[in-house]
């Protein structure tokens, strides 16, 4: 059985600011990021759909200590967003100074920003055609 929505396809769409997901034919729920089976009911009967890219922040952190090779990114804000369709997705929040981020942002509505940031990859990250031009990350701004 072929993998319905691969990282390669998801990643390429995200670089064009499109958020793809999977809608389950059996239970009607959404799975994003994509997997082989439905997040909710484990069915593999899934359709690729484009999601709205909007949701609300459920939690966050501002990171001051980077992994090797990513020191120039610090500080940066990671958010966990509950998409309007239901799934949670991890991303970055960009239109606020990380040093000004507080608990107040929890619950705020966000949307996928105009330009998805791309992690170019490093010596240890995936190579191959699925990530040739880097790994996009959902990049959110306040809606």
């Amino acid at each position: 059985m072929s993998y319905r929505l691969t990282f390669k396809e998801f990643n390429n769409a995200l670089k064009k600011d499109k958020l793809l997901g999977l809608k389950c034919h059996d239970c009607g729920q959404f799975t994003c990021p994509p997997k082989m089976a439905c997040q909710e009911c484990s069915s593999t009967n899934l359709d690729i759909v484009e999601l709205s890219g909007t949701g609300k922040i459920v939690t966050f952190t501002v990171s001051y200590v980077a992994s090797e090779g990513r020191e120039t990114e610090v500080p940066y804000t990671i958010v966990m967003v509950e998409l309007d369709e239901g799934p949670w997705i991890m991303g970055n929040l960009t239109n606020i100074d990380p040093n000004k981020v507080t608990m107040e942002i929890i619950g705020k509505r966000v949307k996928l920003g105009p330009r998805s940031k791309v992690f170019p990859g490093d010596a240890y990250s995936i190579g191959g055609k699925e990530a040739e031009t880097g790994l996009a990350r959902p990049t959110f701004v306040f809606a």
Binding site: F7, N11, P33, K35, Q39, V58, T59, F60, T61, V62, S63, Y64, V65, A66, S67, E68, G69, R70, E71, E73, Y76, I78, M80, E82, P87, W88, I89, M90, G91, N92, V101, M103, I106, G107, V118, F119, D122, Y124, S125, I126, A131, L135, A136, R137, P138
Partner: protein, 391 residues
């Protein structure tokens, strides 16, 4: 299934960058364990060893094979377990099942790690390989980042003002160091205050330096034997009476339960049910406090406090000696150290030593009959072991 006991323990100090290799650290712990069990390496039928990053820290794969050979346990089946920070707990659980089933009588299980050797930037990067490399690492997620997000979520979900939560978290770290001070095996031997925690530098908001465990090097091993054999080898066997294990998807896929780690609840229920006990029966707990908030979250899922109220165990000294559920009296991951491939086995050793009355008097817990270990690897591989004093 036969009953299985820990009959020997070996535990190197947990330290900053070691001057010994992983194989060397393993060998010291392994020979100590076999000696304590009054056995020779040739008595060991199989080796189960946890190690996560030997390839990155020393350029060494196949550690398990070299380890068996190094101690003279020639040609024995030797398997490496990779489960992030839960690796050696997985190794001990698996070893237990092989002996309980009757396939082996005497085995060696545990783990080793030399994470501190890698230095912070590489260690941070390699530990982050425990996250989803495609969908979550690109955002810049690291382990402090993951638990930091759980801390903010905890504050929001349970309406605990962040200030109070951070004070509860600080109490966790303070207690860890209070006990680690007396543990000759611990990486840190210094007490800290709440102010020290709250004034240390910010790693990933809201976690500060002392909210976080260090990178560590070290090894811990145990000899497991079937009951009949165990009684010949020692008059102080500690039985493994319950085991549990569970796995999880990436952090975002755990949305239905966060900040609870659902996998822990699944795993510990297996362990409690198998041992026929409830949380209130546990006399001593070694839980996975990689970050201070992790202690609070773990204590709730293990059944020691209601959800949203775990911090009170530390506020009320219930997690201390003399309290309801003495927790991490070894100093835990933050003060004793966290060589990830060895941590789970280290927790088993601590509980065995406490039961045998072999720890430093300043941190000896009296009357430990039942102990619980808890390890969490990556985003959600959990393993729990129930240990019972056998004399």
């Amino acid at each position: 299934m036969r009953r299985v006991a820990v009959v020997g323990t070996g535990h190197t100090p947990f330290t900053f960058a070691a001057e010994k290799s992983s194989v060397e650290l393993f060998s010291e712990a392994a020979i100590d364990a076999t000696n304590e069990a009054n056995l020779k390496p040739r008595d060991i039928q199989a080796l189960f060893i946890g190690n996560v990053l030997g390839d990155f820290s020393e350029g060494q794969l196949m550690l398990q094979s070299y380890c068996a050979d190094d101690i003279g346990a020639f040609y024995i089946p030797s398997t490496r377990f990779e489960g992030g920070c839960a690796s050696s707990a997985l190794a001990v659980r698996d070893a237990f099942v092989w002996v309980a089933s009757g396939f082996y009588d005497i085995v060696l299980a545990g783990g080793v790690e030399t994470a501190a050797k890698m230095g912070t930037p590489l260690a941070t990067r390699t530990f982050a390989m425990g996250h989803d490399s495609h969908y979550e690492y690109p955002t810049g997620l690291t382990f402090p980042g993951l638990f930091a997000m759980l801390a903010h979520l905890y504050s929001s979900k349970y309406n605990t003002p962040l200030k109070r939560l951070k004070e509860q978290m600080a109490l966790v770290s303070v207690q860890s160091h209070q006990y680690g001070l007396y543990n000759h095996l611990a990486q840190f031997h210094k007490e800290i205050t709440i102010e020290d925690v709250l004034h240390s530098f910010m790693v990933c908001s809201p976690l500060q330096l002392y909210d976080c465990c260090p990178f560590s090097d070290g090894a811990a091993m145990v000899v497991l034997a079937a009951e009949e054999k165990a009684k010949e080898l020692t008059d102080k066997p500690v039985y493994i009476t319950g085991v549990g294990q569970s796995s999880s998807g990436k952090l975002s896929s755990q949305k239905d339960y966060l900040p609870r780690i659902r996998a822990r609840e699944v795993s510990v229920k297996q362990a409690y049910d198998m041992a026929g006990i409830k949380p209130e029966d546990v006399d001593l707990c070694e839980l996975h406090d990689c970050f201070s908030i992790a202690s609070i979250i773990a204590s709730e899922s293990l059944g020691f406090a209601e959800f949203g109220k775990g911090g009170r165990l530390w506020e009320n000294a219930d997690a201390a000696i003399g309290g309801k559920i003495p927790t991490n009296i070894s100093g835990g991951l933050k003060s004793k150290g966290h060589p990830i491939g060895a941590t789970g086995a280290g927790q088993v050793c601590e509980i065995v030593h406490q039961m045998r009355g072999q720890v430093e008097p300043e941190r000896q817990v009296e009357g430990v009959d039942i102990g619980l270990t808890d390890t969490l690897g990556g985003d959600g591989v959990v393993c729990n072991l129930v240990l019972q004093k056998g004399w």
